[in-house]
Symmetry: C2
């Protein structure tokens, strides 16, 4: 080894020992008579101290030649620091070097290796191998390793076995575009990269493996988004002879155990919400329930007062923004502009201010008197000082837009505390979703998802209303995972392969 210890290891107890360290020069402070060098490796930082007027000239000349990010090896004695640094675990000691060897010189790095670096994103991506030296980035990879380790430990403990499935496979469409790999052996033919190990894990169940998992790369040739990359990793699982309840318990257990071990947070049992309730109350199948601001349904109360926009809307939905009645015209205009952006797609927004003085003022005073508006307030349980924001139109689009607005307002009001974690099971997803463009139903999850047995009779009469044994795990408005109970019965599968699929 080119070291006897790491840079995070030495303590008071080591004082007097001769040690060897290797690492990167993080910082040099040269006061002439005293020179300090912070030596860094993955494990920490250890300070070296050189007495400028007493040091061996050869050592001193090496020290003088050093720059940031030089990689060096040091042999020296552990001594007690005069002024200790309680911020770092090695802060009680420093090294008085007798020899410094330059493993490798470094050019001046393109940005500083600090938590608050001076490097912009482009620069940091270009020099990714240097960016990875920063604690903030390094810690993310270490966390990922820890999460993988704990996930495997939990699943191993539950008798899951990890099975590696092939990467060069036959195309199995999953809704996204496949990456393809031309075959040299079979001209004109292609492998596909797996969008998920779906087929393989079901075959493993057919083979009797009972409980399978894999931390596995998946590939989808889709355009980049913040939460979507062409290659991504998932914790892939499958269980035999279980009900939905068993699955929810197993993976709620995994999630709790990860939060406990990594963040020392004891999560209470996860609430469950039906897809219908989620859409109705939050306009989203992945609601952030760290804050309330549930939808207020004004579809009845808003109609019949001569306001055409509302009268012609399928739904009229509002949210109550607590304590914001005093928003200025400018603030409200800015919110209106936000909801009218094409990404959100609202045509306009109505507000009602429930002022502290008891008066009620809205952008539709022409159509609604104070009594009617106060009625709306009652429906929404508003209080004095609250602001109600209202969107209307087609049900799906309005739910979605108001759901976005709800999150936007919560961000403005800092209601989304990043240190608070509110997991939620969303259950009873519809089995099918209607596609306007092709005017047909598609499987919302996949066509092997089992319907709730009691909903099966709806196959002919109202397929859109069939609920599936499908569920998502949502934390703070982010979909963390999801799955379904597969159909194992040939008869049910044949029924589900219904003509409206084709």
């Amino acid at each position: 080894m080119l070291r006897t210890h790491t840079c995070g290891e030495l303590r008071k107890e080591n004082i007097g020992e001769t040690v060897e360290l290797s690492g990167w020069v993080q910082r040099i402070r040269d006061k002439g008579s005293l020179i300090w060098i912070d030596l860094r490796d993955r494990y920490g930082i250890t300070q070296l101290i050189i007495e400028g007027d007493k040091a061996d000239p050869k050592l001193l000349s090496t020290v003088k030649s050093l720059g940031r990010e030089y990689v060096i090896g040091v042999k020296g004695t552990v001594i007690e620091r005069v002024s200790k640094n309680s911020n770092i675990p090695t802060g009680d000691i420093e090294i008085s070097p007798e020899n410094i060897h330059i493993h490798n010189a470094s050019e001046t790095p393109p940005f500083t290796i600090d938590d608050d670096t001076d490097g912009g994103e482009d620069l940091r991506m270009k020099y990714r191998y240097i960016d990875l030296r920063r604690n903030a980035v390094k810690e993310k990879l270490l966390l990922r390793h820890t999460l993988a380790r704990l996930t495997r430990a939990y699943l191993d403990g539950q008798q899951f076995i990890e099975v590696e499935t092939p990467v060069l496979i036959k195309s199995t469409p999953e809704g996204a575009r496949d990456f393809v790999v031309p075959s040299r052996m079979n001209k004109g033919e292609f492998y596909a990269l797996p969008q998920s190990p779906q087929t393989f894990k079901q075959l493993l169940m057919v083979s009797g493996f009972d409980r399978y998992y894999q931390i596995v790369k998946c590939f989808r040739d889709e355009d980049l988004r913040a939460d979507r990359q062409p290659e991504f990793t998932q914790i892939d699982c499958e269980m035999s002879f279980v009900t939905q309840e068993d699955i929810l318990n197993t993976f709620e257990g995994l999630t709790k155990s990860l939060f406990k071990e990594v963040k020392n947070i004891e999560l209470p049992d996860f609430p469950r919400m039906s897809y219908d309730d989620a859409m109705r109350q939050y306009g989203s199948d992945k609601p952030d329930i760290r804050f309330e601001m549930k939808f207020i349904d004004l579809s009845e109360a808003g109609k019949g007062h001569g306001f055409n926009v509302f009268d012609q809307s399928e739904v009229i939905l509002g949210i109550c923004v607590k304590g914001c009645a005093e928003y200025t015209r400018k603030q409200i205009d800015s919110i209106t502009d936000w909801v009218k952006r094409p990404q959100i797609g609202a045509k306009g927004m109505v507000y009602v201010k429930f002022n502290e003085d008891g008066s009620v003022k809205s952008s539709v005073d022409k159509f609604y008197n104070e009594e009617t508006l106060s009625e709306w307030g009652k429906i929404g349980s508003t209080e004095k000082g609250d602001l109600m924001l209202i969107l209307s139109g087609d049900k799906g689009a309005t739910q979605k837009a108001l759901g976005e607005l709800r999150l936007y307002m919560a961000d403005l009001l800092e209601l989304r505390n990043p240190n608070e974690f509110k997991p939620l099971w969303v259950v009873d997803f519809p089995m099918l979703e209607w596609d306007e463009e092709t005017a047909r139903f598609y499987a919302m999850h996949h066509p092997f998802t089992s319907p709730k047995p009691e909903d099966l009779p709806l196959l002919e009469s109202n397929p859109g209303a069939i609920r599936a044994n499908a569920y998502d795990l949502v934390i703070n408005g982010v979909e963390i995972g999801g799955g379904s109970i597969r159909i194992h019965d040939r008869n049910v599968q044949e029924k589900v392969y219904h003509p409206w699929f084709y």
Copy 2:
């Protein structure tokens, strides 16, 4: 859960309990008055017993409809077996079912789900999901899971961290052909699938991750061989600030720990052998050292007796096959035929029999008298009753052919005990190998492999003699792993990028 217990779980202590099991029908024995069903899942086999003349007619009719590999759920009472089966852990009990539910019927399987199946390889590959139900195959996947688990535990314990590296990468030639993936975003451009995470792990070291590992898929577009598939998995590692000695110790430790935990075998410290010694003594850089049969060098003793074949050979090499002097002409002819196959490529073979009666007889008696042949025997430390087999020709080709013959003879004599494990480090690999076709040197490992510092001066005079800090781990003649110390010094790297590389 569709069960209260697995099929491997119930014991005497459970007698009297009402339980539910789910699994596959392994076997049905119908004696009319008594029907036994072996129910199988991943965890074991539990016997069901139905009294043909007392059972509920509905239950009996279900039982009568069952066939092999039906998937069923059973509810019943645990009872004590009359005749116990000590071969299986559940052999003390059986289940008296009150209800059997058919989860899924099965067609007659194309082969039996037994350790000794009646299915040929093609059939088993076609119905892989059924073949995976067989213990022999299932155990292999379970073992693989265990090995991965133990490997991670060992490396985690040594402060390695597992980092996932990308799969869609820029081509980094490694000697084999890349699989390529056309990019939809950038017409005419391609990703490559990694032949190994080589570049990424070195970048991780540059980033200061210090100890990296990954159990990772690699891809090489090569023709299939028994030990070579287009996609394969390796335990990929990299360490910073270490010497070759540290690496050997770390991975010798890993290997020992796997043998101990999986097979309860305590391996002694692994011997080390230089590449030169391995080639000279065994004609292979991955010698099987479970048996001796080292090469006997007759290059001097064999020449100058008028036997043109030997006189014109670069080397004359033999092996002593213990106790086989009585091989018949037919046996020896068959061996000669074997070495003359194109895969081995010898032009012929000479034998010398050191008979029990003290006489010596060879296939080249015309050129060598008994005295000379006895001299050869002394060089090879042969004893009465031994057979010496000799090949000659160019050094490399002869070493290789005789190495193959050595393994062939050991197989014939059953000297390669599959339950014996003899690991070996082969060290001091040459840095370069000469390619006749292109008449130039190539890096034997890769051009970042560090040369032994003391050999660096040979760069100009005798590059083929430069030894590298490169090593392979060999067990029983199979290369299990290998690696090298990378060059970290720019000057050395520039020297190694020598003109003879281009």
